[in-house]
């Protein structure tokens, strides 16, 4: 490893982010008009990637506001992955804490749904559970089975935001309902035949899927779901999830 080159590269990156170097050799570069080509390219690529990955936020706040906010995030958190479709994992948290977005408290949760969409879009291809396999099990075996959500499935519960309604209306460029429910909304996203589809999810469904992904069996996952949502119809929940191809095959029997 060459220490001189390491220092050069570290100083070069610092200069891109506006931190001056005391090294005169580097100053000889950063004062040339060509230096800004690198600075602009790096920062523009990061902001462009965030805009591509968070289209609903761009639509909600407008291009100019988005790019200003994204630039602040891009300077604080350069990409970790060379695959820029994966960039912006922390962007929703950033928006939730971002002072100028205080008037838009749903922004972070809406960004989480854009992130869910991307994660579904790029997830591994995986066959869905064949429901007839479940039908062959005794009730005891069924309750001791752990259902695993497919790679291309995501869900999110927003406890105090109408995030799903806002996200859906803006993502599809459709109309927003006149009355929004601010008592909590959830969504289930699922890639089927190459397309990411979505539907509303209840609190119980989200808790159930959280338990499934943690490896819990059907008995304990449904118990948690009912605890979170006492009026939950468990049979109907399972039917909905199986129809939505939410589970991977094969499932695991825990005993």
């Amino acid at each position: 490893m060459n220490g001189v080159a390491d220092t050069f590269q570290r100083d070069f990156i610092r200069a891109i982010y506006g931190i001056d170097s005391e090294d005169s050799a580097l100053s000889a570069l950063t004062t040339q008009p060509g230096f800004k080509v690198y600075r602009n390219t790096v920062l523009k690529a990061c902001v462009d990637a965030l805009a591509a990955n968070y289209p609903t936020i761009v639509r909600l706040v407008g291009e100019e506001w988005f790019r200003s906010a994204a630039l602040i995030h891009a300077c604080a958190e350069p990409p970790e992955s060379v695959c820029l479709i994966e960039y912006g994992r922390g962007f929703a948290d950033f928006l939730s804490m971002f002072g100028p977005a205080a008037d838009l408290p749903y922004l972070g949760d809406v960004a989480r749904l854009d992130r869910c969409w991307t994660e579904c879009h790029i997830a591994a291809d995986e066959a869905a559970l064949d429901a007839s396999m479940l039908a062959e099990l005794s009730e005891v075996d069924l309750l001791q089975s752990a259902l695993r959500p497919r790679s291309g499935v995501r869900w999110h519960w927003s406890p105090s935001q109408a995030a799903y309604s806002i996200w859906q209306a803006n993502r599809t460029q459709g109309a927003l309902a006149e009355e929004l429910d601010w008592s909590g909304e959830g969504v289930l996203l699922n890639r089927i035949d190459g397309h990411v589809e979505w539907q509303a999810a209840s609190r119980g469904m989200c808790v159930f899927l959280d338990a499934c992904v943690a490896g819990q069996d059907l008995q304990s996952a449904t118990a948690k779901a009912v605890q979170a949502e006492p009026e939950l119809d468990v049979a109907r929940l399972l039917g909905t999830l199986i129809n939505a191809e939410a589970f991977a095959s094969p499932f695991i029997t825990t005993q």
Binding site: I13, A25, V82
Partner: protein, 280 residues
């Protein structure tokens, strides 16, 4: 599918159907592998479909072969998986760096051509070639800065990289033209000094003048947002008259026109290649 590669195009999502149905002889497509390193999903299915009709070239932008650290093992692993999947005709990368301390700075950043850097780049290329089980063609960069810490000329540096690592070269003629203008050297002499037998691929692209600058004094930017410039076509003809036919790519990454317009540029390159081939 013909075994020889003629002139090809960068593959753009908006041209998917056109690419799929294109039947030109010796046609091929190039993609940035970074856009296809995901675990699954429609993008990969799309690439598979195009690959079933045409040869592909994987042109990486992020291996950071001139980086302070060796190429990232996880990245190489994913890239090796994509190579097994699409069996590309060509794999290429850049003489540049773009990662540092596990962060990615999405650009092709400049390299001081010292002997120590040469040794490191050669080592990184060898590591990558071994893991990918594929020869890599290294592309000459676009220059925007005058750096006074070079010990090697760029053509000698590339020639020595070929000797040490067994890599090939990808000659981007637009980069040569842009750099010759920006930092002041002779583009023809540069092309004449490259080792012909190592050249595996040629890139042709358009460039633009830096905003607010005039064309005499301002920087040229390798923007890939315009048709190939006439001066670049002239340099291309000059190079292939010396080295013979090589797979040639029309690169366009911004202000992307209709497929037919790109195909017209591609056909112009193909015609030059065919004429050159007839002379050999």
């Amino acid at each position: 599918m013909k075994a020889t590669l003629g002139a090809g195009l960068g593959l753009k999502p908006q041209h998917f159907d056109d690419a799929l149905h294109c039947t030109q002889d010796e046609m091929w497509f190039e993609v940035h592998p970074e856009n296809y390193l995901m675990a699954g999903g429609p993008r990969l299915a799309w690439l598979d479909a195009v690959r079933s009709r045409h040869p592909l070239s994987l042109h990486g932008v992020s291996l950071s072969l001139a980086g302070a650290a060796p190429p990232d093992a996880q990245h190489l692993g994913r890239l090796a998986g994509l190579i097994r999947r699409v069996e590309p005709a060509l794999v290429s990368e850049h003489l540049a760096w773009s990662t540092l301390d596990r962060r990615y700075y999405p650009d092709l950043l400049p390299v001081p051509r010292t002997s120590a850097v040469l040794a490191r780049v050669a080592d990184n290329i060898q590591r990558a070639q071994n893991q990918l089980q594929h020869r890599i063609a290294i592309e000459n960069p676009s220059h925007y800065l005058r750096m006074d810490n070079h010990d090697w000329s760029e053509t000698d540096f590339l020639d020595e990289l070929v000797r040490r690592s067994g890599c090939g070269l990808l000659v981007d003629i637009n980069n040569v033209y842009v750099s010759a203008h920006n930092i002041g050297y002779d583009a023809r002499t540069y092309l004449d000094n490259l080792p012909a037998e190592a050249i595996l691929e040629i890139h042709l692209a358009g460039h633009s003048i830096d905003a607010g600058e005039d064309s005499e004094t301002g920087l040229l930017i390798d923007s890939h947002d315009a048709p190939v410039n006439d001066a670049v076509w002239t340099l291309y003809r000059h190079l292939i008259e010396r080295i013979g036919e090589r797979p040639t790519l029309i690169e366009r990454d911004d202000k992307i026109p209709d497929f037919a317009e790109l195909m017209a540029e591609r056909d112009r390159a193909q015609e030059l290649l065919s004429t050159q081939g007839a002379l050999k």
